[in-house]
């Protein structure tokens, strides 16, 4: 439910952009600036890459006494209010019975979503770049060893995040299946986000999630390219891919699939 709300938010505010939706409330706590994030390379050509938080920051994997102290910039991001139209309308007669395609049977269902006023927090990149010169990553840290074991992962750091400034309520409205003529009609879920102002809770929903402020709902990362000796660089351009030097970025990834579907694998297209 939280994942769907954050995904919808980015679809409206950052389509095709670099922000990544937070998919779990638990991850929201882990999303500190300079947190380590692992990017998993996609398997099929159409997939978006998946990201996983590590419970550590870059300071935990630098060689001794080399901490980075980022300057954090804060700014208003957007006041988000979205209006959605749900589902096709009407009913259909079938050979087996009648199917109603939305809860009411007629009309369009509209819902509004609002995370309220959102704030953007980001690391001052110029300062970060200056400060990270000559810093080294300890490749022998147990955490990195585990990342290195999996060949299809890239290390990233979190450099920006979008946080809520007000308490919000995420509720799920199930458009109930209708049983007609022995058949089950359409059942879908709508997710609605609303800023909680007067403590009222929506009654017509099955699940309600109240999220406190500040909760991270989206974030941006920078990929790292880590050399064999522990030196690293940030991949500032889209064309520049992160990874570990000992692993050739173009080398084979240990993917296992049936030979029939080979042309659709990500590496074939990339």
């Amino acid at each position: 439910m939280f994942a769907k709300a954050t995904r919808n938010f980015l679809r409206d505010t950052d389509p095709g952009g670099d922000l990544i939706p937070v998919s779990s409330l638990n991850d929201s706590d882990k999303s500190q600036l300079l947190s380590l994030v692992v990017k998993k390379k996609k398997f099929w050509c159409w997939q978006r890459p998946k990201y996983q938080f590590l419970s550590a920051t870059i300071n935990d994997i630098l060689t001794e006494d080399q901490f980075l102290n980022p300057v954090v910039l804060e700014s208003d991001f957007v006041k988000y209010e979205g209006k959605f139209e749900d589902m096709v309308k009407g009913t259909i007669e079938t050979a087996l019975g009648r199917i109603t395609l939305n809860a009411g049977g007629t009309g369009l269902v509209e819902s509004q979503s609002s995370f309220g006023t959102l704030q953007k927090q980001e690391v001052d990149l110029h300062q970060l770049l200056r400060e990270s010169v000559d810093r080294m990553i300890n490749l022998k840290s147990p955490l990195l060893q585990q990342v290195l074991e999996r060949k299809n992962e890239v290390l990233c750091i979190l450099t920006q995040k979008i946080v809520t400034t007000q308490k919000c309520v995420i509720s799920e409205h199930i458009q109930i299946e209708e049983k007609c003529g022995g058949m089950v009609g359409l059942k879908t879920k709508r997710v609605k986000v609303s800023v909680s102002e007067d403590g009222n809770v929506t009654r017509d929903s099955n699940v309600v999630l109240e999220i406190p402020a500040p909760t991270t709902i989206a974030y941006g990362v920078l990929e790292l390219y880590v050399k064999q000796d522990g030196q690293f660089e940030f991949c500032l351009l889209r064309e520049k891919q992160g990874g570990f030097e000992q692993e050739s970025p173009d080398g084979p990834i240990d993917l296992d699939t049936g030979e029939l579907i080979f042309p659709f694998m990500a590496d074939c297209v990339d």
């Binding site: 439910m1 994942a3 638990n26 159409w46 079938t94 009609g185 659709f264 074939c268 297209v269």
Partner: protein
Amino acid sequence: GNSKAGELMPTEGPLSSLKHGMLLMERNFRPFVELSGQHQAALWEILWEILVEDELLMALGTVLDDVFTGGSPRLTALPELSRGQRRRLATFLGLAGLQVREDLLVAREARGALDLPSAVHFFISALAEMPDKAPALMGSCCKLHMVPALCHLPQATSPDGFLALGDPSLAVLEDAQRFEIVRELFALSNISLEHAGSAVKAVIMEKPQYLPLLLYIILNGLCALERRDE
């Protein structure tokens, strides 16, 4: 491999341009066709539940990606899911030819001649990348038995993008309400369907990304699984 992948990338133009990939998609879903009727029916039943539960669909995509990149994911590591959802996931994975141990660790058995898990991974990954409303609309198309007709559309479309109504195989497009469902589903997949006199114009929109391809992967998968009816 590279040239085939390039040819399969959808571009703006008539829906008929997708037909080059149809044979490959049909071949990929052969493991679905070759299942016993009982196995197909069981897979179908649980798939119907997954189509309307997006959390389950996302989790399934993640688990299958993990398995196919050499991992052994554990379903208990999916805190967002309820116990019932995990149970449904385990049932689906079992029917998809994967091993689900008692401690909910998922693993892949040695690959057989018919690679059912690969076909399932292919299908679920496409489904997981579709816009939110698409799986439910897809479910409606299944319930209304429209899937085989929709699979046939790229072959039936003329090189300039027209589908001539009156062809019995295109009857689904003649019913106004069925057409509305199909139009909405195709619009979500960046394919425009519009009535034009006694025909329907079917065109892949500008910058369609992978969505038309994904739609047809899913339709072909559903069609292969539905053959138990024949």
